[in-house]
C-alpha cells in the first residue's frame, strides 16, 4: 500500500471528498434559506412572526456544566414567566439554547452561530471570564448584544455586553474593607491558578496597601487540584496566631481546601475565610459542616428578606424541586432577562441599538433589592456579607444601606486608576479619564 495510488484509492478519495461536501452542505443549507435577508451582521433580527428568538449560551457539558446549568434554569424560568405574562411586545420569547461545552473556542463558534444563523435578538450567556473574553470579539464585530450574569474581575467595559453580576467594587472591595474593620489586618490570599483569582488578588493587595492591611502570603492551586497540604502549611507558617484567609478558589479545590482546613485545625474563630465564589449551591456540595462560621460576600443570598425574593424562591422551587437553592449568579441571570425585556418594551423594538440605549437607566425590583443599569453597562447593586449557618444558608451579617454604583475600571489598580466607562455619551465610551480624580 505504501507505493502508488490505484484505481481503488481514487474511488475512495473521490467518494470521501464528495461525501464530505454533501454533509457540510446539507448541514448548512436549510437554516439559511429565508432568513438571510442581507444583514450578515444580524443587526436587528430575532423577530420572526409571533416569536422573538433569544440565545442562551452556557456550558451544558464539560467541567463548567455544573455551575452553568443552574443559571440556564434561572434564565429559562424568567423566560417562562415572561411568556406566561404575555411575552415581550406581544410576542412569545423562544429560547435557542447552545452548549459552549466548557471550551472557549466553542463558545465563540456558538456565539457566531446564534447571531448569524439563528438571528437571535439577544444572547444571555457565559460564566467564566475566559468564555466571555472569547465571545466578546464576536459580539463586538457583529455589533450584537450579550448579557452576562456572573460576578467577575472587572477591567472590561464592552459596548456590546451588559454585566449583571458584581464588579470587584461591589463584592471584593467591600468584603476586604469589612474584614479590615471587623476581623483584623493580616490576610493570606488563596486562589485557583487562573485569571479571576490572580486579578482579584492584585486588587486586594493594592487595597490592603492603601488601607493599612498586610498581605502575608498568597498561593495558587492548579485548577482541579485537591492536594492543599502545602498551602495549609504556608498559612500556618505565615499566620501562626490566626488571621484572615481570602479565598478565590474555584470548583473542586474548594471542597478539598475546607475539608483539609478543618482537619488541620484552622477553625473559623481563628482563621475566618472570606470566599467570593461560594454560594448556597456550593455550600451544599462542599458540606456545610466544614463551612459553618465562614463568610462569603455577594449581592444576593437566598436568605435576603424581600417580597420579590420570597416570590422568586418559591417559583424556583416549584419549577425545579423543593430541595433546590438559589444563589447570586442565578439571581443575576434571572433578573437580566427581565431587564432586557423592560429595555425592549421601552424601545418598542428589538433593534439592537435602540435596546442598548433604552437599557441604560432601567430599574428593577429584584430579589436582592432595587437594581439599576448604569451607563457603564453594569448594575448598581446592594452588597452583602453572609456567614454560613447550621442549615447551610447564609446569615446576612452586614449589608450596604443602598445599592453601590459599579466601577468597571478598578480604582486600586494603578493602570486603571482614574478611568471610567460611559456608553450613554458617545464621546466617553469604553474608557475615559475622569477629570476630578
Amino acid at each position: 500500500m505504501s507505493n502508488g495510488l490505484g484505481r481503488r484509492k481514487f474511488l475512495l478519495y473521490g467518494s470521501a471528498a464528495f461525501g464530505t461536501s454533501l454533509l457540510l452542505k446539507s448541514c448548512s443549507t436549510p437554516p439559511e434559506t429565508g432568513t438571510d435577508t442581507g444583514n450578515g451582521d444580524g443587526a436587528t433580527g430575532g423577530e420572526n412572526g409571533d416569536t422573538i428568538k433569544v440565545g442562551i449560551l452556557h456550558s451544558l457539558s464539560g467541567t463548567m456544566a455544573i455551575s452553568e446549568t443552574t443559571v440556564v434554569e434561572a434564565e429559562k424560568l424568567a423566560i417562562k414567566e415572561i411568556n406566561e405574562a404575555g411575552g415581550v411586545l406581544g410576542k412569545q420569547i423562544e429560547a435557542v439554547v447552545e452548549d459552549g461545552a466548557s471550551d472557549w473556542p466553542t463558545f465563540a463558534e456558538k456565539a457566531a452561530k446564534l447571531i448569524v444563523r439563528d438571528q437571535v435578538a439577544v444572547v444571555f450567556g457565559c460564566w467564566t471570564s475566559a468564555s466571555r473574553k472569547a465571545v466578546k470579539d464576536v459580539f463586538e464585530s457583529k455589533d450584537h448584544m450579550l448579557w452576562y450574569p456572573v460576578q467577575y474581575e472587572g477591567q472590561e467595559c464592552s459596548k456590546n455586553i451588559f454585566y449583571t453580576g458584581a464588579a470587584p467594587n461591589q463584592q471584593i472591595e467591600p468584603a476586604v474593607q469589612w474584614l479590615l474593620d471587623n476581623k483584623g489586618t493580616d490576610f493570606f490570599l488563596v486562589g485557583s491558578d487562573y485569571v479571576f483569582p490572580r486579578t482579584a488578588n492584585t486588587v486586594i493587595k493594592e487595597q490592603l496597601k492603601a488601607e493599612g492591611g498586610n498581605t502575608v502570603g498568597e498561593d495558587y492551586l492548579p485548577l482541579g487540584s485537591t492536594e492543599v497540604t502545602p498551602i495549609i502549611t504556608k498559612i500556618q507558617q505565615a499566620l501562626p496566631d490566626g488571621g484572615i484567609i481570602f479565598n478565590t478558589l474555584n470548583g473542586d479545590s474548594n471542597v478539598a481546601f475546607f475539608k483539609q482546613m478543618q482537619g488541620a485545625g484552622l477553625t473559623p474563630d481563628k482563621y475566618p475565610v472570606m470566599s467570593v465564589s461560594i454560594a448556597e449551591e456550593e455550600v451544599r456540595q462542599i458540606g456545610k459542616e466544614f463551612l459553618i462560621g465562614h463568610y462569603a460576600s455577594w449581592n444576593y443570598f437566598q436568605t435576603v428578606e424581600t417580597p420579590e425574593n420570597e416570590k422568586w424562591v418559591q417559583a424556583f422551587k416549584a419549577e425545579y424541586g423543593e430541595d433546590r437553592v438559589t444563589n447570586d449568579p442565578m439571581e443575576a441571570a434571572y433578573i437580566m432577562v427581565y431587564l432586557w425585556k423592560q429595555a425592549v418594551e421601552q424601545a418598542g423594538t428589538t433593534d439592537l441599538e435602540a435596546v442598548r440605549q433604552a437599557a441604560i437607566g432601567q430599574e428593577f425590583q429584584a430579589p436582592e433589592g432595587l437594581v439599576t443599569v448604569n451607563p457603564n453597562h453594569h448594575l448598581s447593586k446592594t452588597v452583602r456579607i453572609g456567614q454560613v449557618r447550621d442549615d447551610g444558608l447564609f446569615d446576612i451579617v452586614w449589608s450596604t444601606d443602598e445599592p453601590v454604583a459599579p466601577q468597571a475600571w478598578n480604582q486600586y489598580v494603578p493602570a486603571t486608576k482614574g478611568y471610567a466607562c460611559d456608553w450613554s455619551d458617545p464621546s466617553k465610551g469604553e474608557r475615559f479619564k475622569v477629570e476630578d480624580v
Binding site: T63, A65, I66, T69, D193, D219, Y220, L221, P222, G224, S225, T226, E227, V228, T229, P230, I231, T233, K234, Q236, Q237, P240, G251, D252, N254, V255, A256, K259, Q260, Q262, G263, A264, G265, E281, R284, Q285, I286, G287, E289, F290
Partner: protein, 388 residues
C-alpha cells in the same frame, strides 16, 4: 524539629494518597502491561459508593453515621471491583498485547463512566438492564442450538442492534411518562457532598500544628492495604498464580494456571483498590464526575517512577513524590536557602516554583531528570526478560 516532623508527616500523607491510588494501577500494570486510563473513574465509582452508603446510614441516626466509613470501604471495593471485572471481561481481554490500544479504549471507558454518573437515572438503568436481558438472554437462548457456531456472527449482529433499539425505545417511552422517580438523575453533574464521620474531622494537636485524623486514617488504611496485598500475593494460592503469570504467561498457561481467571481476578483487585482509594479521598476532597481526573496523572507518574512489577518501587516512588511535592510546594526549599545572600538566585528560583501550581512543573522536571538516571524506574527488571 517540630517543623521537620510535621513536614515529614505531611509529605507522607500526600504520598500515601498517591500510593493508595497507584497501588491498583501498579498491580495491573505489572501483570498485564496495561495502563488503565479509567483508573481514576474507578476511584470515582468508589467515592460515589461511599456517598450512597453515607446517605443510607443517615437514616439510622447519628450513632450509625459515625461508622459508615467502615461499611463504605468494602462496598467501594466491591463496586469498583465489579466494574473492573466487567471492564476486563468486556473490553480489555480482547486487547492484550496491544497496550496502546488499551490506553485508548480505557479512555473511552473513562468518558463513558464520567457521563454515566452524570446522567444515570432510573430510565437509564432500566434500559441497560433490559438490553442485557435481551442481548445476553438471546445469546444464551441461541447458544442452545446445535448450529450455534455457524450462526454466531449473524446472531450477534442481529441481536445487538435489535436489543439496543428495543431498550432505547422502551427508555424513551418510560421517560415520556414523566415519573420523576425514574427520570430524575441520581447524582446529576454536580459534586455530591460526602462528609467524613465526626471523629475523622478533627486532628491531633502538636504544638501550633494539628495532624488531621483523616490523614492519619488514610496512612493507616494505606499500610493495611499494602500488608493485605503483600499477604495476598505472597501467601495465597491465587497470589502465587498471579506472580507466576507476571513472570511467564506462556509457561504458567502450560502448567495449568487459568491465566484468564488470573487476569480477571487481578484486574478486579486492582480496580477494587481504586475503589478503596476513592473512598479514602472523600475524606479530603470533592466527589464529582471529574474526581478521578484530578488524581490520575499524578498517579501515573508514581507508576512510571516506581517501575514495573515491584510494589516496593511503587511505595518508594509515591512517598518520594509526596515529600518532594510538599517540600517544593510549601516553600520549605525556598526557606532553606533564604538565610544566605550568596544563594539568592537559588532562593528566587525556588520561590518562583513555590506556588503550588508551579510546584507541579518542578516535580515533572525532576521526574524527567530522574528517568535519565533510572529509565526503568527505581527497581528495574533485570535479566533476559527485561527488554525484548
Amino acid at each position: 524539629m517540630l517543623e521537620l516532623a510535621v513536614g515529614i508527616f505531611n509529605g507522607f500523607s500526600i504520598g500515601s494518597v498517591l500510593l493508595l491510588a497507584a497501588l491498583g494501577l501498579a498491580i495491573v500494570f505489572g501483570l498485564m502491561g496495561v495502563i488503565n486510563l479509567a483508573h481514576g473513574e474507578l476511584m470515582m465509582l468508589g467515592a460515589y459508593a461511599t456517598f450512597v452508603v453515607q446517605n443510607i446510614f443517615q437514616g439510622f441516626g447519628d450513632g450509625a453515621l459515625n461508622l459508615y466509613i467502615f461499611v463504605a470501604l468494602p462496598v467501594a471495593f466491591i463496586v469498583s471491583a465489579i466494574a473492573g471485572l466487567i471492564l476486563e471481561r468486556g473490553v480489555i481481554r480482547f486487547l492484550y498485547g496491544r497496550p496502546l490500544e488499551t490506553l485508548l479504549a480505557t479512555w473511552g471507558i473513562s468518558l463513558i463512566l464520567r457521563q454515566f454518573v452524570r446522567s444515570v437515572n432510573g430510565v437509564l438503568v432500566l434500559g441497560i438492564v433490559l438490553f442485557c436481558l435481551l442481548f445476553f438472554g438471546g445469546l444464551w437462548f441461541l447458544s442452545k442450538r446445535t448450529d450455534w457456531e455457524r450462526i454466531r456472527t449473524a446472531a450477534i449482529s442481529a441481536l445487538l442492534p435489535l436489543s439496543l433499539a428495543i431498550s432505547a425505545v422502551a427508555g424513551v417511552l418510560v421517560s415520556k411518562t414523566g415519573v420523576e422517580v425514574l427520570t430524575k438523575p441520581w447524582f446529576s453533574a454536580r459534586n455530591v457532598d460526602v462528609t467524613p464521620p465526626a471523629w475523622l474531622r478533627g486532628g491531633f494537636s502538636v504544638g501550633i500544628y494539628q495532624l488531621p485524623y483523616s490523614r492519619i486514617f488514610i496512612i493507616v488504611l494505606t499500610v493495611l492495604c499494602l500488608l493485605g496485598i503483600y499477604w495476598f500475593l505472597n501467601r495465597s494460592i491465587w497470589g502465587l498464580r498471579i506472580r507466576a503469570v507476571t513472570q511467564n504467561r506462556e509457561m504458567s498457561a502450560c502448567l495449568g494456571i487459568p491465566t484468564d481467571t488470573v487476569d480477571a481476578l487481578t484486574f478486579a483487585i486492582g480496580s477494587g483498590l481504586a475503589g478503596i482509594a476513592g473512598c479514602a479521598i472523600t475524606l479530603l476532597g470533592s466527589v464529582g464526575p471529574n474526581t478521578g481526573q484530578n488524581y490520575i496523572v499524578d498517579v501515573f507518574m508514581v507508576v512510571v517512577v516506581g517501575g514495573v512489577g515491584n510494589l516496593f518501587g511503587t511505595v518508594i516512588a509515591a512517598l518520594a513524590i509526596g515529600i518532594v511535592t510538599y517540600l517544593i510546594g510549601s516553600g520549605t526549599l525556598a526557606l532553606m536557602f533564604s538565610n544566605s545572600d550568596a544563594l539568592q538566585p537559588l532562593t528566587d528560583f525556588f520561590t518562583f516554583f513555590a506556588a503550588t501550581s508551579m510546584a507541579k512543573v518542578m516535580v515533572f522536571a525532576l521526574i524527567i531528570a530522574f528517568l535519565q538516571v533510572k529509565p526503568s524506574g527505581i527497581f528495574p527488571q533485570k535479566g533476559r526478560t527485561a527488554e525484548l
